[in-house]
């Protein structure tokens, strides 16, 4: 351990930085897409329209019972086939980055939908009824009355899920994308100094995720104080 070479990290900083930026980009897209589609899935799952709710339930449970890497592979190998089937174009039309983004949105939508469903169910039934009684339609009642209260209840658990999502973005390594870990791995292969680069990656992830989890705790404490 005596010959830990910081120089190699400094030399690769621009490359590692571009990798970290890609990790953040994927995180942002997956978070926004996951919450958006997760909300739709949760609303569909709670609808009284049986076929819709059980189809969504099946999809969510399917996605949740396979490994994340398996979902990434599904999209990586099958998305080009699907594009080819519908457009007749050759499969190159969809690359690893796009397929990874779709896989992340899909998986996160499934996980977030379970959180959001629990959040919606935590809002008393009288709330939507009162909204309907005031003459609101479904989308007004959901958008203005139920969801704002539901989201408030689920902020802590959603932030925790967001931290897990940020860690999971490293899984795109398996399709050869240059996220933070992928960049470090590449730089490690070229320079032959994998020890320094992997330790550096671990420390950076630790600082980011530990810091974020402290923030979550802080907000949680403040919100609880506000309610009491």
């Amino acid at each position: 351990m005596g010959d830990f070479d910081f120089g190699i990290i400094v030399k690769n900083l621009p490359f590692l930085w571009s990798g970290l930026l890609f990790s953040f980009k994927l995180f942002g897209i997956a978070l926004a897409g996951g919450i958006f589609f997760g909300t739709l899935l949760a609303l569909g799952r709670l609808s009284s329209f049986r076929i819709l709710s059980s189809a969504i339930g099946g999809f969510v449970n399917l996605v949740r019972s396979i490994p994340f890497i398996m979902a990434i592979f599904w999209l990586y190998f099958m998305a080009p086939e699907i594009v080819k089937y519908f457009t007749g174009q050759q499969g190159e039309a969809i690359g690893p980055e796009t397929s990874a983004i779709i896989a992340f949105i899909m998986v996160e939508a499934a996980y977030f939908s379970e959180i959001i469903r629990a959040g919606i169910q935590s809002v008393p039934r009288g709330q939507p009824w009162a909204a309907y009684a005031l003459g609101m339609n479904y989308w007004q009642a959901m958008g203005n009355v139920v969801l704002p209260q539901a989201f408030r209840n689920m902020v802590p658990i959603m932030l925790t899920q967001a931290i897990i999502l940020f860690q999971d973005t490293s899984l795109v390594y398996v399709v050869g994308l240059k996220d933070f870990l992928g960049a470090a791995s590449k730089a490690g292969q070229i320079s032959g100094r994998i020890v320094e680069l992997y330790v550096f990656v671990a420390v950076v992830y630790l600082v980011i995720c530990f810091g974020a989890s402290r923030l979550v705790k802080y907000f949680q404490a403040r919100m609880n104080a506000g309610i009491r």
Binding site: I69, Q167, A202, F210
Partner: protein, 253 residues
């Protein structure tokens, strides 16, 4: 039909692709079960330590949990597999890289004992941090009066844990433990990055060799679902069997 692919000869060993899938399934189960033993044992100890009044033990357990929870699993996998042999003293590192992998030849595996060990240690110690949090939550959900009553009866603190707190806490945390086991089972697929040919790796390998895309992934997906459902079913049985009368069993996950 695409599904016929499983009965074709695989390029090596004179076996069919079906054999590859089954060996993948076997290694997924072996890796996750071995890792679960570590996760459950270590996680229980850490979880208990996080609730004890002994300050420095409590602090050490907290540090463990925060470190292992806040580094992505894949990064930890690389730390165990690539970094560990390099940072150990030279002789030990060389022994790990050269002698250890050949100690035992693993059955039906195209990887060595070292890949397997690194994967099990990594998954086990990562999941221990999550199990510790569940154990702690389970213990903290019990009324404080239980500990105090135990102490007032003349039990020592270890006895209170052994006879009062833990029997209750472990029953309460069966549902979250089920999902932790399912998580370790799914997370075992990250071992493919260090060469362990488990179920996901085998299905990808078949796709790459045969260019048949749908059937191998669909079969692996179905196997994952079947095991998930089986585990949930067995844990429900266990939960009902050990339920304490009068305590409402929550069920679900």
């Amino acid at each position: 039909m695409e599904w016929k692919v499983f009965f074709e000869q695989a390029p090596s060993g004179g076996v069919t692709y079906l054999h590859w899938m089954m060996s993948g399934l076997m290694w997924t189960l072996i890796v996750s079960s071995c890792a679960w033993v570590i996760a459950f044992t270590l996680g229980s100890i850490l979880g208990v330590l996080r609730t004890t009044p002994i300050k420095w033990l409590n602090f050490a357990a907290t540090v463990y949990v925060e470190i292992f929870r806040n580094i992505p699993l894949l990064v930890q996998m690389f730390l165990w597999y690539f970094v560990m042999p390099e940072v150990l003293p030279a002789e030990l590192g060389d022994w790990l890289k050269q002698t250890y992998p050949n100690l035992i030849a693993l059955p039906f595996a195209q990887f060595s004992l070292w890949e397997f060990t690194a994967a099990v240690l990594c998954l086990g110690m990562y999941t221990a941090s999550r199990v510790a949090e569940q154990v702690r939550a389970g213990i903290e959900s019990l009324p404080r009066g239980q500990t105090n009553a135990g102490l007032a009866m003349g039990f020592t603190l270890p006895q209170v844990y052994r006879f009062v707190i833990l029997p209750m806490a472990f029953r309460l945390i069966i549902p979250p433990m089920t999902s932790e086991f399912l998580t370790i089972f799914k997370n075992s697929s990250t071992a493919l990055t260090i060469g362990v040919l488990e179920l996901t790796a085998q299905s990808r390998q078949i796709v790459e060799y045969t260019f048949v895309k749908f059937a191998p992934f669909a079969a692996a997906t179905m196997l994952y679902i079947i095991i998930t459902l089986t585990v949930i079913f067995l844990m429900r049985l266990l939960e009902n069997k050990v339920a304490v009368p009068g305590y409402v069993s929550q069920g679900g996950h």
